[in-house]
């Protein structure tokens, strides 16, 4: 078999799935978003851009902006928290424990995300474990649940493993002799990180950031359960358009807008994504 045919055969199952499920779904969404809502929640084929005009009303732009901020903050916090963990796992942890430790990183996936969100509620609510602990220490109880910090916490908690794994992969590949060489050439430890470790693990950073940023943009479980739906995020908004308001065209327009935003973000990051190790000076 020629290389190209072999590639085609090997890629075919995934390609078919992606084209049908993602591509097809996007087309359906696009078509629906251009229609009008019927009285019974269906789609009237009455084409126009009215749903997009509505999506750009300040009310909804604020929702979109809030979601972008949440996704960006989640990504930033995951990077800050995940990078040292990945670094330690890949370069410092005892070699014989490494596999077991990696399993611990993905251990949360063994339980449904929904269940884990409820666990956080039990921890954070007014009579929750954290407040009980504070009370035992004689400290005043605080309002930990149903605010933006709780949403961010739940989001970071849920996404952290997704960033640790790609970071681990790129840190593990890093040749330790390069770190020695940098130190030997006069780079202080922070400088070694800045001038050698970070540039060489950039593909892992970008991949991990994308894996966290995109799902966070459309997140609705953590905002709903930990935020108490007090602040509306675009994920919850879309979900409610389909399930509650039964305005499929508007929900579709919001979804499509979100997809375009994601594609734009990927396009902006195409360079570091493509470069195995990006060029510097």
């Amino acid at each position: 078999m020629s290389g190209r045919r072999q590639a085609l055969v090997l890629l075919a199952p995934a390609l078919v799935l992606l084209v049908v499920l993602v591509g097809g779904a996007q087309v359906l969404m696009l078509v629906a978003s251009l229609g009008r809502r019927s009285a019974y929640g269906g789609v009237l084929h009455d084409w126009g851009l009215q749903n997009y005009v509505r999506a750009l009303e300040p009310l909804y732009v604020r929702v979109l902006a809030r979601s972008l901020v949440l996704a960006a903050a989640t990504t930033a916090l995951c990077l800050l928290a995940g990078y040292p963990v990945a670094y330690w796992l890949a370069r410092r942890a005892p070699a014989h424990l490494r596999k077991a430790l990696l399993v611990l990183v993905i251990l949360p996936f063994w339980t449904s995300f929904l269940v884990r969100m409820y666990a956080w509620i039990f921890l954070l609510r007014t009579e929750g474990l954290v407040n009980l602990g504070l009370a035992a220490l004689g400290l005043p109880a605080s309002n930990l649940l149903y605010n933006q910090s709780a949403v961010l916490l739940g989001q970071v908690y849920g996404e952290l493993p997704f960033i640790i794994l790609p970071l681990y992969a790129s840190l593990e590949k890093l040749d330790p002799e390069l770190l020695d060489a940098a130190a030997d050439l006069g780079a202080s430890p922070p400088e070694v990180i800045r001038r050698v470790v970070l540039p060489l693990t950039r593909p892992g950073i970008v991949a991990g950031a994308i894996l966290v940023f995109i799902p966070s943009l459309g997140a609705y479980l953590a905002p709903d359960l930990l935020g108490g739906a007090r602040d509306v995020y675009v994920g919850s908004l879309i979900q409610s358009q389909f399930a509650v308001a039964r305005d499929i065209p508007f929900g579709a327009a919001l979804s499509f807008t979100l997809s375009v935003l994601v594609l734009l973000a990927l396009w902006a990051l195409r360079r570091p994504l493509r470069a195995g190790a990006a060029e510097e000076g």
Partner: protein, 361 residues
């Protein structure tokens, strides 16, 4: 002490149970080219990393140019290293690699550019500054690594088996280049290798290491002509190592455990003492049986067993009594065949007396 002097004072380093370097003391003079020679695992690379500051000793002190740097981190030491696998930064160009240290030192841009240019010129890579590292051949990478280290004008240049990844022909070229670089720079070079030829060709002095201990330090000629221990002799291709016992009476007569009776010119041989002796294959000659020998020569009768053709010479395995000798024969003209009876002849002065006591047979 002058700029570029290295002084190790009782330096030890262990990894867990394994002692990599044990109580090593020696001095390197400014501008000297000193090679640490030994088999893999002898501690030579650890010693180099201790000097670079990439490892810290468990005990002992390290002085550079007369200053105690034992507690200084690597980035504050006036030494630079050429790493075994070069350790070039893949995210930087050739010039970017050479500039790295200068940037770390906070040099101004024009100065960096000018010094990088000069360093690349010195290793004959001018014009290749914009190349990516993965576009270079092994020999070119080696030169970038050299330029990157010397551009900082270190007080001591450390080289960790820099040629082991090159093929033989390139290795010989680089050998000449390293030697000429040392002459031009006048910097102290501390060089690590397991290749005795490389060590002898390049160094002012060689330190032979075994098992974390310095076995012998001396000029290449001293190390080659007068190895002091069985290990050094073995490592420097003294192929005929024999356990022997000094016979009663005057005249330094020895009897090997294989039954050969040999005369030695070494001093201080006490009758009854057990000693290691060695003879280089190239100091031995093959003669016909019963051919006359000079009075100051040792004669041994033997049978030819096997011949290894090595191009410029051949090596014969010769069974002589209970010993097997290796005899080198220059050239290729010989009509001898395995199974022939021969006489092996070598000067009494060629019999090296080595340290250490062989066990009783």
């Amino acid at each position: 002490m002058g700029r570029g002097a290295v002084s190790l004072r009782g330096v030890s380093k262990s990894y867990g149970e394994v002692a990599a370097v044990r109580d090593v003391s020696f001095d390197v003079a400014p501008g000297e080219f000193v090679t640490l020679l030994g088999p893999s695992g002898c501690g030579k690379t650890t010693l180099l990393r201790l000097v670079a500051g990439l490892e810290s000793p468990d005990s002992g002190r390290l002085l550079l140019s007369g200053r105690d740097v034992t507690d200084d981190p690597p980035h504050r030491r006036p030494v630079n290293t050429v790493f075994q696998h070069y350790a070039l930064f893949p995210h930087r160009t050739v010039a970017g690699n050479v500039a790295f240290g200068l940037e770390m030192a906070g040099r101004a841009r024009p100065e960096v550019a000018e010094r990088v240019e000069r360093a690349l010129d010195m290793v004959r890579l001018s014009g290749l500054g914009h190349r990516r590292i993965d576009q270079l051949s092994g020999g070119q990478r080696q030169r970038v690594a050299l330029a990157r280290a010397v551009v900082l004008e270190p007080e001591v240049l450390l080289l960790d088996e820099p040629m082991s990844a090159l093929d033989r022909k390139l290795r010989e070229e680089m050998r000449a280049e390293v030697k000429s670089l040392h002459r031009r720079l006048g910097t102290t070079f501390l060089f690590v290798t397991h290749d005795q030829e490389e060590a002898l060709a390049l160094s002012d002095r060689v330190a032979v290491l075994s098992d974390g201990v310095v076995e012998q330090v001396g000029s290449p000629a001293e190390i080659y002509d007068a190895p002091r221990t069985r290990f050094v002799a073995d490592f420097l291709a003294v192929r005929n190592l024999l356990a022997a016992e000094v016979q009663p009476g005057e005249g330094g007569v020895l009897r090997t455990d294989g039954g050969l009776v040999l005369r030695s010119e070494a001093d201080g041989l006490a009758p009854g003492e057990r000693v290691w002796v060695g003879v280089r294959p190239e100091r031995m000659r093959l003669l016909d049986p019963d051919a006359p020998a000079a009075p100051d020569e040792n004669r041994v009768s033997g049978l030819l067993e096997e011949r290894l053709f090595l191009g410029d010479r051949s090596e014969w395995r010769v069974r002589a009594g209970g010993d097997v000798l290796t005899v080198a024969e220059a050239g290729r003209a010989n009509e001898r065949r395995p199974g022939d009876a021969v006489t092996v002849v070598f000067p009494a002065a060629a019999l090296l007396r080595l340290g250490g006591r062989p066990p009783r047979p």
